[in-house]
Symmetry: C2
Subunit: 461 residues, 2 copies
């Protein structure tokens, strides 16, 4: 059977595009998510065209074999891991930037394009593609659309879905559909562009993406605010927004993270602060001046100290510190369990307090950083997968983190997706009725559960 | 049967909430769309609570009777017209603004709230709810979510769906589901908030809405630019955006519309201009000054004349003229067929030329106005429903308008929805495969086609 499948794949898309050696199969049996089950696939295929994808889907449909679509594998919810035999569909060879249309402020790309490469291409036109997940230099456009990636600029600029205008999709049965386009307004049909965005490869295979671009901000100003208490930091976050300033970026690092980062990159962070906020405002110079002043005032009113980056080098150092948060935490211990429980902005302080309580209760080291302006926190548990007893406490702590977020009117995931990692919590937020809606839509488009099975939506028993 | 249904409805939601006299049934057998078939419903019900809606859905499900959910009936695609016996579900009594949460920049409302009433409530907090369809003073929030209404500020601020963060929905079988919430980021589950937004009452009944608010712009400046040729006007539109200015509003009126409006409201529009642009930039004073200058320069470079409103009265006069476009055109002839074919911004001039050609070909009077910055035009055919021969030409012209829009990379509807009016064109844009995806999702959630049947999605034969 396996050999028959391999042969059929080779004859459809060429032997250069079908990998089935053990080394290849091992390489694509995991992604960036720790503590996940996995399984080696039958084959890894690298389509070069939409027609290839259609052929692969038809073969998978014929043999009832799962397809795990994959970009760079940087996701953090186990979204690309094979859980059964099947085909890993690696989109990295479909990496053409088809068009940058400066007049309509759009770009059209294949799914294998690296996010940063798109940004480099549009920057020549004075434009940006705002979504910037931490993995912007490695993650693919297709992966970020499938996961609806967030990033550091979500507060002012929104997340991936706010920039996806059109999609070309291969369905589970190999049929090709196109939704949306280059028009700013479009209410033709149900909003399938949004339905497929963030569907984590479970409803269709994305083969082409039309994105919205925006003019690059003329200038920006970065600030570092340090606080003696979590309450002061949390209140400052709310007050900045209440002061009618929507910063491009409004990030928080707690004391644990500050110390680990400072030890790792020596950015000059205040290691005795209970929390720091990293804030960037952008726009035309007059706006930036005005907004920076509001931020400065709010920080002082909330008993904080503020430093304003005076040079590009100082600014880059600040943001390098923020981007180092995850790698810095990751090198402290063998296993890093990173969550993205999200709460309404007004509940940031309450959530930070809950995280502190949970860390103490389960005797765990939790560093928290994240997008304070969005209420999108990343509590990161520093642990060791090999320590069974500790992992039990980790799992209990994670349960309690989600429970706390939901109790505060929050959600299970702000930007990492459900994947495998959060499937068992989904009913807590959606209820049985909501899960049923998920299943009904999944089964309408992929009745045999061939597209990324075991992720996001639980098959009914 | 009818009496049994009426009795059951009365016992479920009270006799005050069930209308079934002929006069009532006639009143709710049409909406703002001309030239549509219709049918009197069995009953018109006015639920006061979500529980009432659940009861009504269960009764409809039991008797296999259609439900036509309706707000103010201002839609322009026949979206609320009963095409079969059944229940008109009139949401106007569920009109509470449940909460304005200034800290999280959200409001929670029932579907019967008038859009303008929400704006009045949030303006006290220095906030706005940006979507502003022409009918902002009469249309309901529920209706505008179901139709994903656009409006005059779409270019900079987006349309309704960009502001919908959470929905409570009663499904066809009476089950209650909630998706989204107050968090800025949320990737839990498929994006059902967006799927139900713009689904025109065909997938579920909206009973609660959480919207995003934004800080009100500090100031604004309105300008009137007149051009001797359509090309100059179209080029100016593209050049403004290429100049990195995204005006809040960028509207166009063609010569026919200018003359009809001027005759109607005496706003001082230049009746000899081939087209005028109405432009508003907003933000902090420094931004407004800077952007207004760019606009002025672009208009002059494209052989246009520009007038800048110097007082609030002058500004209000300009926008009153724009808002008068539809009523002014409507009073010229007994029947006004208003379309909203939409093209990429760069194709505005080409589309205007196509409209002129089509008007000549079918010997019809077409006034065109609309949201030039969005590529969202409103060609408006001035005709008479009683003139059979002319209506044949109208229908042919409409066909050709959509054909032209699609050929230019556009879409059938930018903001009015598919409803009944555009159903037969849907396949032109989506293809057979796309229609099938529509049907599959519809049937997954409403297998008996009880929710607003005959709209948006065509039952397979």
């Amino acid at each position: 059977m396996n050999q028959k499948l391999i042969n059929e794949l080779i004859s459809a898309i060429g032997s250069d595009n079908v990998l089935y050696e053990d080394a290849d199969l091992v390489s694509y049996s995991y992604d960036a998510t720790p503590d996940m089950p996995s399984q080696q696939p039958d084959a890894v295929v690298t389509p070069e065209t939409t027609e290839h994808v259609i052929e692969i889907a038809k073969i998978a449909d014929k043999y009832n074999i799962p397809i795990y679509t994959r970009g760079a594998g940087t996701n953090l919810s186990g979204g690309t891991i094979p859980i059964d035999k099947g085909i890993v569909l690696l989109m990295v060879k479909m990496d053409k930037i088809i068009e940058v249309d400066a007049e309509n402020l759009t770009a059209t790309v294949e799914p294998g394009v690296i996010i940063q490469d798109l940004n480099d291409a549009v920057s020549k036109h004075g434009l940006i593609y705002p979504p910037d997940p931490g993995t912007v230099k490695t993650a693919t456009m297709g992966g970020s659309v499938a996961e609806n990636s967030g990033g550091l600029r979500g507060l002012k600029y929104g997340v991936t879905k706010h920039y996806i205008m059109g999609l070309e999709i291969v369905l589970a049965d190999g049929k090709l559909v196109k939704f949306g386009g280059k028009t700013v307004k479009n209410v033709t049909a149900y909003d399938f562009v949004k339905l497929f965005t963030g569907s984590e490869g479970t409803l269709g295979i994305i083969t082409k993406i039309i994105v919205k671009l925006i003019p690059a901000p003329e200038t920006r100003k970065s600030m570092l605010a340090s606080f003696k208490t979590l309450d002061d930091a949390g209140n400052a976050v709310s007050s900045i927004v209440a002061g009618k300033v929507i910063p491009a970026t409004l990030e928080i690092l707690d004391n644990t993270t500050i110390n680990v980062v400072e030890n790792y990159v020596k950015a000059g962070l205040p290691t005795d602060a209970e929390a720091v906020l990293l804030i960037e405002v952008d726009g035309i110079p007059e706006v930036v001046e005005k907004e920076a002043k509001v931020v400065e005032e709010v920080v002082k009113n909330n008993n904080g100290d503020i430093q304003i980056a005076q040079t590009d080098a100082e600014r880059d150092k600040l943001w390098a510190a923020r981007r180092a948060a995850l790698p810095a935490l990751a090198q402290v211990s063998p296993t890093t369990v990173l969550e993205d429980a999200t709460v309404p902005r007004s509940e940031i302080t309450a959530m930070l307090r809950e995280l502190k309580r949970i860390a103490e209760k389960y005797d765990l080291r939790i560093g928290t950083f994240g997008h304070a302006g969005d209420g999108n926190l990343h509590p990161t548990i520093l642990t060791d997968e090999r320590n069974e007893e500790e992992m039990k406490r980790v799992h209990k702590a994670v349960d309690e983190i989600f429970e706390a977020a939901l109790k505060l009117g929050g959600t299970l995931t702000g930007e990492h997706g459900i994947g495998m990692a959060k499937m068992r919590y989904l009913g807590w937020e959606l209820g049985e009725e909501g899960l049923e809606v998920m299943r009904k839509v999944k089964e309408a488009l992929d009745p045999k559960y061939l597209l990324n099975p075991g992720k996001m939506v639980q098959r009914s028993e």
